[in-house]
Symmetry: C2
Subunit: 412 residues, 2 copies
């Protein structure tokens, strides 16, 4: 097989493996003693709630506290995307973004109030909500500030999770918000709603009512079990594909209004200053995006040979239609394989076989969703931005494999 | 609206809610003070690995140790299915079935040996396997002995999880087994393979080679993160839809053979004694099945009114085509709604609105898969069985709602 860098077809991988030219480091062996030490000692008994292997203790969220001394609960922790595979994020590694910590809430005393421009204000206990019909769907949540560090002139040389890990994907189950809004009775003058979290930051966002009624879910379960405290236990507003901070955690109040209220959380932040000096507000849907996770910064590509390029793609606008990869600076693009089912507003896993010739190369992925939204280059995105505008960064991520196999984050 | 028991259409639920005749216990309120106690105190900071709320501490696996004194690691723990929703099982609650405990294995020293009727025996470290192309899919694993307790003349009055919880569903990621078998080179005489676990029971099963090559996955990841120890860390054979015990945990050896080896784990157990005195072996694929989880034993249906019936359906033969529910002893059946995507060899969630008139009633669900396999009645299944044959019990589960709303497990 010709040894040059580039994408491989599946058949070629097999040929590479069989011919021994692939990277698969398998060895001929003689099976002398196949009884291992672990097979000679009884293992530990069953347990009530399982945890990861202690040998995987370094697979952790990546914490960034904004003001660790004065407000340790303000900041974020990121999903170590580069250490995971598949599309589901285990709840223990779902990213966090808190504005004043994780409240300790007892579900039995928690209430949801729906009021404002409604026929009849309603209050629900969690037990009340548990009586309603439920729906389930797999959906990502991405913080509006995710990947913002890539907006720097010097791209951060940190892991893919540290850069892009304000993104996680779960199966959520709950009650359709529209069902309860209709029960309260929507006043004809109501056009927006304000959702407020029951945490010490009282995080509040204004959300257009029509979409909230149509798409909103009052999530009670995450990946099968009840929500985790860091994801809003006992109740979270899920707005699939919208800015992460609209997915209000510890949801305790929804007020219907005739316009946005310009809450502190949509004026002091989560706005986008434009070059003309005007700040854009309510840019609410997360764009099409992808990131190659393997290889990425912190990994070493040990030698020339076969590898699988693998990563995640997602879009707030719907399903991912394709992910293309270039290894030659954008001259040619190859479609990666998407692992089905490809679901709307959910991450999908893409994979592409790759034969590396050991010479410096740059890998870039570009996602396009079913509505035609795609990813700009870094230069094109930054040309529209002022310095310090970190939100909705969805430019193409470029990883350079340098001599020796180390991976660098580069702006190309 | 007429108040009689039966399935409801979605529109009727809404009418019930709006008219106040539904069960939704919402109250008109005046919003006096909407700042809760949790909003007055900063919450706890971000954490490296999240855990469920302490207020959900009773959502645990249900442990049954077979010989707690002499072999505490022999037995099972079941998924509390009745306390969960959606389709994904969180890894911490995935069922366990161990024959001599959970070994502590360091991935860096673990090896997989492929030998026997191959051109070249191969040995792989986990790092080696990580270099191969991967695939992801959502699939259930069900123990062959799941639901066996329902074979008793007196049906167990325990929770749905305690009866049916040797069933869990995860997103698995790993390397296609066929890829490595082909690399080793399959001898033309090889028709079966023996897969052996690296635990102290050395659990071994014979598996037809053609299907193993086609369907087998060497799973490295479960719900995004590396396998949990209880599910086979660092390597598990995944055979989607086949008996749970074929999904060999702590996989360390695969030997290609010209027939089954009749290992202890497929002779002393996992065989099915027939009324004619002959034991059936290698009944390997799990049948079509469903269970209503809400309501189920241990729950109280508090009063007449609206409820959602909800449960899980699955089949080892493919996708679930439909789940029907009867509330009148099988005279009429109503199709439940299936939450998409409906995937092959994966659990799917079914839901059906239900108006209860407060009188005793029996709820039964019946799943049918895309190949036409369906569930027998309890009586039909038991007519083919001898006492004590617990494997592959997939009869229709019947729950009786008695006066006062308690739920009983009944054979009808």
């Amino acid at each position: 097989m010709e040894k040059k860098s580039g994408p491989l077809h599946r058949r070629q991988i097999l040929q590479a493996g069989l011919a021994g030219v692939g990277a698969a480091a398998s060895n001929q062996v003689v099976a002398a003693d196949t009884v291992t030490a672990a097979m000679r000692t009884p293992g530990r008994p069953m347990s009530l709630y399982g945890m990861p292997s202690p040998h995987e203790a370094d697979v952790q969220r990546i914490i960034a506290a904004a003001y660790p001394e004065v407000s340790p609960g303000t900041g974020s922790s990121r999903t170590p995307l580069h250490l995971l595979d598949g599309t589901i994020t285990p709840a223990g590694l779902h990213f966090e973004r808190h504005h004043n910590g994780v409240p300790d809430i007892d579900a039995s005393t928690h209430r949801l109030l729906i009021h404002g421009l409604v026929t009849q204000a309603l209050e629900f206990s969690i037990d009340d909500l548990m009586r309603y019909p439920r729906t389930s769907r797999i959906a990502f949540i991405e913080c509006a500030g995710n990947s913002g560090g890539n907006g720097s002139a010097q791209p951060p040389q940190t892991s893919a999770g540290a850069i892009h890990g304000l993104l996680s994907c779960s199966e959520w189950t709950g009650v359709k918000l529209g069902f309860l809004l209709d029960e309260a009775g929507i006043d004809p003058h109501a056009t927006w709603m304000i959702a407020e979290g029951g945490d010490a930051s009282g995080l509040s966002r204004s959300i257009p009512l029509a979409q909230a009624r149509e798409e909103g879910i009052l999530a009670l379960f995450q990946n099968g079990e009840r929500l985790r405290p860091e994801q809003g236990y006992p109740l979270r507003l899920l707005m699939p594909g919208w800015e992460g901070n609209l997915n209000i955690k510890w949801l305790h109040r929804i007020k219907l209004t005739d316009g946005p209220v310009y809450a502190k959380d949509e004026t002091s932040k989560y706005t986008e200053l434009q070059p003309n000096g005007i700040a854009r507000q309510f840019d609410l849907i997360m764009g099409a995006k992808s990131v190659i996770l393997r290889p990425s910064v912190g990994m070493i590509v040990p030698s020339a040979g076969y590898y699988e390029i693998s990563g995640l793609a997602w879009s707030g606008h719907g399903r991912i239609a394709r992910v293309e990869i270039t290894m030659d600076g954008g001259q040619t693009w190859t479609n990666a394989e998407l692992t089905g089912p490809v679901l709307p507003q959910a991450t999908c896993r893409f994979r592409l076989p790759w034969e590396w010739d050991g010479k410096p190369t740059v890998l870039q992925s570009r996602a396009t969703d079913e509505k035609g939204n795609t990813q700009p280059t870094h230069a094109a995105l930054m040309a529209q931005r002022v310095s310090g505008q970190i939100y909705h960064y969805n430019a193409i991520q470029a990883w350079q494999i340098i001599a020796g196999g180390a991976v660098k984050n580069v702006h190309v």
